[in-house]
Subunit: 119 residues, 2 copies
């Protein structure tokens, strides 16, 4: 079973975190996956944490998780904080596989997305 | 002459800020605009500031600028900080037009972008 974990920064504004949750539901629908297969976690300021979200996935029998850093630029969160969190989770679950994907800002089609926003 | 200003958060990592600058150059190319027509500014931690970037545009005769918040979720930066900066610039340049666009995370095609990232 495929599993995607979208990791966002997290905000003090509940509406901002909910925006990411809605997006995850839309992504699941787009991929024709179950809602459970596209989860959200937050680096800080909101829950669940990355550790908790990965624990939940592995406890329900998922063997492989793709983690998508929902960040636009490769700042210290992407370069240091996320890899550290993932390494800790991997050490806790040595028999499971965690794929840390490139941050969303590095996606080829981001250029098109920006260009279309100013049409 | 059309003018886009991409406003990113800004990072202590120069490479992260450069990533946004490279993206702006790619957007200009994609839109077949000049490099000058797609500029970058940072909310904090990097330069130019939003105020400086808008000053520069208006001083060289641009009458209308579209500001794209390069943020994924509508946290306090998008909801409070950016509108405040834009209002201050608008007060300084009453004869110019500043369009504050929706943040990039609200783009319809973001769902597709995320879905394609985990293919």
């Amino acid at each position: 079973m495929k599993q995607l974990l979208i990791v966002a920064h997290g905000s003090r504004r509940a509406a901002s975190n909910d925006e990411v949750r809605v997006l995850a539901a839309q992504v699941a629908q787009h991929l024709q996956w179950s809602a459970e297969q596209v989860q959200v976690a937050f680096l800080e300021l909101a829950l669940p944490s990355i550790a908790t979200a990965l624990d939940d996935c592995f406890k329900r029998g998922v063997n492989e998780v793709s983690v998508l850093p929902y960040f636009l630029a490769s700042g210290s969160h992407v370069v240091s904080d996320l890899p550290r969190e993932i390494a800790a989770a991997q050490a806790k679950w040595p028999d499971k596989t965690i794929h840390l994907l490139a941050h969303i800002g590095a996606a080829d089609r981001m250029v098109n997305l920006i260009a279309s926003a100013c049409d």
